[in-house]
């Protein structure tokens, strides 16, 4: 469990970058696998071009769903890497803002695709709720009160003079 002193700029930046990498790695595997199974040609545009998220063809539908599956998997990564319920919202928003920027740069146009925005919003809400919940679970796990340790060892050497 990261401790309070771990909240240095460098460690936060590392966590953000690591989470972003994992987020894209998972979608890469998911989309790559779907393309391989369905026999479609794979290109990076399927992931980073916001035109790919659409409901008028099968691959558009698939990619929309895969993004949400990616969100669920990333929650697991976030629980392991960050593991703090109070940071879940911050990390989720950061992840999606970076994704919006990456998509905009890749497509060279601001996303005007309503469906794409809907997926981003759903993903943000889903990741925040799930991330907060799983991190809380991790924080509240039994840690050191197992194995029948004595909670407090009472000090019997009290000062002889009463206060």
């Amino acid at each position: 469990m990261p401790r309070a002193e771990a909240l240095t700029p460098l460690s936060l930046l590392k966590q953000i970058l690591l989470l972003q990498t994992i987020y894209y790695t998972i979608i890469l595997i998911l989309v790559g696998f779907s393309c391989w199974v369905s026999g479609d040609a794979f290109n990076l545009g399927l992931i980073f071009d916001w035109h790919s998220v659409r409901f008028d063809n099968t691959i558009g539908w698939t990619i929309s769903m895969l993004w949400l599956i990616d969100t669920v998997f990333t929650v697991l990564a976030m629980t392991v890497i960050v593991g703090r319920s109070k940071l879940a919202l911050d990390f989720t928003v950061t992840l999606h803002v970076i994704n919006i920027i990456v998509s905009t740069i890749y497509t060279r146009a601001l996303p005007t695709n309503g469906l794409w925005w809907l997926i981003q919003a759903t993903s943000t809400v889903l990741m925040t709720i799930l991330g907060t919940w799983t991190s809380q679970w991790r924080e509240l796990r039994k840690t050191f009160f197992e194995e029948g340790y004595e909670m407090v060892s009472r000090n019997t050497n009290q000062p002889s003079n009463p206060v």
Partner: protein, 190 residues
Amino acid sequence: MYHLAKSVYQQLTRKEEYSVLILGLDNAGKTTFLERLKGEFGGKSLPPERINPTIGQNVGHVIVDGMHLKLWDVGGQENLRTLWNAYYAECHAIVFVVDSTDRERLEECKNTLKEVVVNEATEGIPLLMLANKQDCEDSMDVVDIIEIFNKIAEHVSARDSRVLPISAKEGTGVGDAGRWLAVRLGRVPV
């Protein structure tokens, strides 16, 4: 991103702060010294006649020559001294205030100081001894006090230490004491 920005901001605005622990028997003048020091370096301070015996602790912030000092003034009554142990690990310097007029309790004072300096947690920490109440006519000379505490000096020899005459009531020597701390603390890492 919010926490990243916040931590960057905190890193940029962070100031190094040194903790100084003020110890000594009850009625030695620890709180009066702290209040006088606050007044001396541009803070608000309580006049000596309004200071009551300390139960628990007083905390004061003082900036001496651009150095931020956090002073912990803890109660000196016998049954409060057991609490001192809890402060040793966190402090960067110790000020030990001696009542120069209290000849009867000199032995107790010596034993108390000895207990402080032989504690493992205070090893290597600069120690400033203040011979307080020098304004009183029946006070002992600093030379005598240095002499008396020489026996303890064998434990202190390895570290920075100094005996300074002050009068916390009149305010003489308090500024020098503050500056001595600032100079010594400048040499140790936070």
